[in-house]
Amino acid sequence: MATLAEPREATSDEAFREEVRAFLADHFPPELKGKGNALASVEGPTKEGPAEKAWREAMGSRGWGTPTWPKEYGGGGLSKAQTRILQEEMAKAGAWNPIGGMGVMMFGPTLLEYGSEEQKHEHIPPICRGEIRWCQGYSEPNAGSDLANLQTFAEDKGDHYVVNGQKTWTSGGQWADKCFAIVRTDRSDKHHGISFMLIDMDAPGVEVRPIQMISGMSPFCETFFTDVKVPKKNLVGQEGQGWTIGKRLLQHERTNISGGGAAARMMGANLSDLAKKYLELGDDGRIADAVMRDRIADFEIRWQAFLLTAKRAVEESKAAGGVSEISSVLKKLGTKLTQERSELTIEIMGLQGLGWEGDGFSESELGGVRAWLFGKATTIYGGSTEIQNNIIAKRVLGMLDHQ
């Protein structure tokens, strides 16, 4: 759709464009063209060769992996217009952003908003340079969608806390350096007894156990804390403010899961292109199976409407300032549509689309099955669709529960 795809040339800042081009020419290794791996944050530890390392360091030193973050903490300090130019030129060059993960997507923006100066100076620069991997310590066995029920407890010991408890669904916990966690500091108040703190994953007493998923991957862990010492300087905000900070972070997560972000990149080839590859075509080049063709068009129209909605949300939240409550709508829609797309893909490919391993399947076919299965989680984590529906009904529509 032209309204989305049409590149809009910036009329000013040609100098900056030149700078970017020169930088890319100098630093982006051509052999890495198009090799960016959007799944890196969940699939496993980054396996960096020398070229990848050099590229990450080059981007990190400019702060261009986090282009809009303030320069004083290692970000790029770019304007929106400059960021667009950067993205355009990177796209032209086939370059990709080597700096990502939960530090960039979730923790960084939250710390920039709620952290102290010391905390920002300590934690943001390594994120900007892509040196430190963060993981999220939110869910617990009995506090999934119902986060307020969490039991992990941080006992005040003067200059530090001692943390005991168990987290689960810790994304990339086995590869992470640090964890941003919500923990209970007061058992007498469900919501106000929660605090937001930062825990070193290599601190004594932290144990991590990967969980095998139906997709065969193990991107999540159970994480056990046994008498883990956490210095007080690692408390973000005030004691008891964890619920507020934690929810704010979830809004960032939601926006990322919704599909406007990562999901769209994970989707791979265009659905109609895929169909043209796997299905019979008529003499006119159309997909011969009219029913499947109709279903593909049905999906693509709705996907278009979803992308337009994501774009509109960005514009409106810009106008209103900050992340809007429409993030719940986006999360709900984006995950649903991405799942539908996976199911359609399987139907298009028939049994060829259900390969698990071994001969007879291409890498992209095998990847498609894993993505289909992995994608079933997107309507569960980051606040399940049911939770998003509750949020929409109650907070947006004002439909209150039985009084």
């Binding site: 759709m1 309204t3 997909i287 409407a305 979803f306 774009k311 409106e316 529906n389 529960d401």
Partner: protein
């Protein structure tokens, strides 16, 4: 909601205020019961014309305001909320054909009158009950012959934009033009119009795809009306759920209904994005054909679901003529079938995308 400029915001607020105060659903009910010949209140339409709404897509030199399609869509959306019976959509579309394909003389002749509301125009394209069939009307020696099915707002129109096999023509009401009522469930003006050697003037300057261009506009502007309708049904239904008590609780407190409303809210968000993007495409002049498919297909989908759920969630009273919600259901199905059912639009979208 799209980011509007000041002019657009004023226009929308004016339309909203007028629709709410001067043209609530009760006004449509009155039209339905009193059955004026034109199928709408000519007084109300005269007021609309005075407010400049008939000239929104007409260039200033021909008496319009040239505010553009987003502006036209905003007004149509507001009028859709209260089901205002008027030929505003029909006459706007007729004017747009002349803007796109009329000669200088045709523009000078008709656009000022359409802008002022003196002339009401409409499209006469389809020849069967489903959009997209063959056009068989023919013209010879400036005389057009053919029959057009279910022409919207036919009763009030004095100028018809008629599709013939070799292009679009302007035909004035008069000799050789007869019509037969086709009263549909939405109780608006529809008629079968027969042209029997009626004097016709070709719109020659719009290119070979003039008809396609007009239909894209029809799809997008109709989807704006549907957007207003769907949002109104949603709002009215939400209000009802918050008031109505069953089992000692307001209905809004039942989780099964909360989640259904959340689904509908998400549907409506997609519908709004699609419709606004269609209007933006018209104003921007790019990607119109696909944007029109997306706008109308999403409008069909969301309004279909919303109009059905509106009745169901109102329960028994929603089934009564005394309540307004049934009117939206009836009008919804007429608009869904107009200018392309969802199946038709998906086929067109796939053609445009090359698969």
């Amino acid at each position: 909601m799209a980011i509007l400029n000041e002019e657009q915001e004023m226009l929308r607020d004016m339309a909203r205020e007028w629709a709410t105060n001067e043209s609530p659903v009760a006004a449509f009910r009155k039209v339905r019961n009193e059955k004026p010949a034109e199928g709408y209140s000519t007084d109300a339409f005269a007021t609309m014309a005075q407010m400049g709404w008939t000239g929104i897509v007409i260039p200033e030199e021909f008496g319009g305001s040239d505010f553009g399609w987003m502006s036209a869509g905003l007004v149509v959306e507001e009028l859709g909320k209260t089901l205002t019976a008027s030929p505003l959509v029909a006459t706007t579309l007729a004017a747009s054909v002349i803007v796109l394909g009329g000669s200088d003389e045709q523009k000078s002749m008709w656009l000022p009158k359409l802008a002022s509301g003196e002339v009401v125009g409409t499209l006469a394209i389809d020849e069967g009950p489903r959009h997209g069939g063959k056009v068989t009307a023919t013209v010879s020696s400036g005389k057009l012959t053919g029959t057009k099915a279910f022409v919207h707002e036919a009763h009030g129109a004095t100028l018809f934009v008629v599709a013939a096999a070799d292009g679009l023509y302007l035909v004035e009401k008069g000799e050789g033009v007869t019509m037969s009522d086709r009263k549909l469930t939405d109780q608006r003006s529809h008629a079968e119009v027969t042209f029997d050697g009626a004097a016709a003037e070709r719109l020659a300057d719009g290119g070979d795809d003039l008809l396609d261009k007009v239909l894209d506009r029809a799809r997008i502007l109709t989807s704006a009306e549907m957007l207003g309708m769907a949002n109104q049904v949603f709002d009215v239904t939400l209000d009802y759920l918050k008031q109505r008590v069953q089992f000692n609780q307001v209905l809004a407190s039942f989780q099964a209904l909360q989640h259904r409303m959340a689904d509908l809210f998400a549907d409506l968000a997609m519908m709004r994005s699609a419709v606004e993007s269609g209007l933006e495409a018209l104003d921007g002049g790019y990607g119109i054909p696909r944007a029109a498919c997306v706008a109308k297909a999403e409008a069909n989908r969301a309004l279909h679901a919303m109009s059905r759920e509106g009745i169901q969630l109102h329960g028994g009273i929603g089934m009564t003529d005394e309540y307004d919600v049934g009117f939206y259901l009836k009008r919804a199905r007429v608009l869904e079938a107009s200018w392309g059912s969802s199946t038709y639009l998906k086929d067109r979208f796939a053609n445009l995308a090359g698969y």
